[in-house]
Symmetry: C2
Subunit: 209 residues, 2 copies
DNA sequence: CTCGTATTGGACTGTTTAGTCCAATCTTGT
DNA sequence: ACAAGATTGGACTAAACAGTCCAATACGAG
């Protein structure tokens, strides 16, 4: 799981080069999150990062390659955040706290821009096979974190042993992503909160089973 | 609810003009569905529709105006389809058949391109306020169709009277949209089927309540 | 029929775009 | 120290882009 994914062909990379590269990717990630991938031009990225054109093309073969690096960086950040938020969750209350954090953070923007990973996926999935595969892996990783938490609920007796934690994690993930999209379109987090709540209510209802 | 939304300023519109306009919008809708909105150029649309540049700019002030017309047309088609699929549903079995139709049709493309409305929403919501509002209205309309079906379930006793059909419709809608996105990213309808199934299972579980 | 207007073809413009190139300057292993 | 290779600045190019314009033609109301 390195951030590499890219250096044109095996080349040395000095500390200075690494710093420049990271600056470029960060600036590109920010711009692409708010403007969209296609609407963000190379020159936008150069202006925002303060880098020169030769710096960018020294580190990336093409805009597509830069986009792939953005996917990797954004993915790492999201997975890191979710690992911290979900890694030790083992109760329904913990899951609700995780939900609250997601909803609250999205409420700050009134839903604008949606999920950092979901927006990228929607824009890039049908245009770049490599990026799509990365995103697919990242979603699977995120879903595994959810499935892990659900397994711990199961171990604690809060879920019946026959419940499919993987299936539930898929449903929960879809509720999150669908919620992000509805919130983005309505410019209101309410539908996101409602949809995750329904998924959690379903999980809770299995307890009685 | 007209398709109008656009003619630069109140102008007469002959049958010929209407045909040309509709051709342009249809070609644009198809291209934008598979290539994305930003990636589809005016020249692409002209080539695909066989229209000339002056024809397009006679009917639309700008590319944004064309995109808004596409949103309206795609929206009408989706709502029409959903009205036929959901309008008379009043049982859980009917809801499952609706689910099967969505999943089967998405399976034909292995999830590619996602939901016609959802993809547009994700691309356009943060860039064009008018288009976002249209999409928000269209999602609400779709959700009302779902809420209507759930109300009929409720009337038939398949749902307890205290269940919030609007809330459940929101959750179901999010499951559908999130499912589309996961399917698109994985190039596999399975996660979409799973996520809608979880939402339906939740609705079914309320029966016992 | 005839006039006003809708419709059309397609060349043209100015700008923006991704990507190239080369010469100059750091950095690092030895 | 010093050579090899990494890094940089920024001018340059060719193509693609959205949008403009004008003269020609079709159409519909009266």
């Amino acid at each position: 799981m390195t951030t590499a994914a890219d250096p044109p062909t095996g080349r040395r990379l000095t500390a200075r080069g690494a710093r420049t590269r990271a600056n470029i990717v960060s600036a590109a990630a920010d711009l692409m999150y708010v403007q969209g991938v296609e609407a963000t031009t190379i020159d936008d990225v150069l202006t925002a990062s303060g880098a020169s054109k030769s710096q960018l093309y020294h580190h990336f073969d093409s805009k597509d390659a830069l986009v792939r690096a953005v996917v990797e960086q954004v993915g790492e950040r999201v997975i890191e955040r979710e690992r911290e938020a979900l890694g030790k969750v083992s109760t329904l209350r913990g899951l609700r706290r995780w939900r609250d954090a997601l909803v609250r953070s999205n409420a700050l923007r009134h839903g604008a821009y949606g999920c950092a990973l979901g927006s990228l996926a929607s824009e890039v999935a049908d245009h770049d096979a490599l990026a799509r595969q990365s995103l697919s892996r990242l979603f699977a990783e995120w879903q595994d974190l959810l499935a892990g938490a659900l397994s711990r609920l199961q171990d604690g007796g809060a879920l019946p042993p026959e419940a499919s934690t993987d299936g539930l994690a898929t449903g929960l993930m879809a509720a999150v992503q669908g919620g992000y999209l509805l919130a983005q379109t309505a410019q209101d987090v309410a539908p996101m909160a409602t949809s995750i709540d329904m998924a959690l209510a379903h999980i809770e209802s299995l307890t009685a089973g």
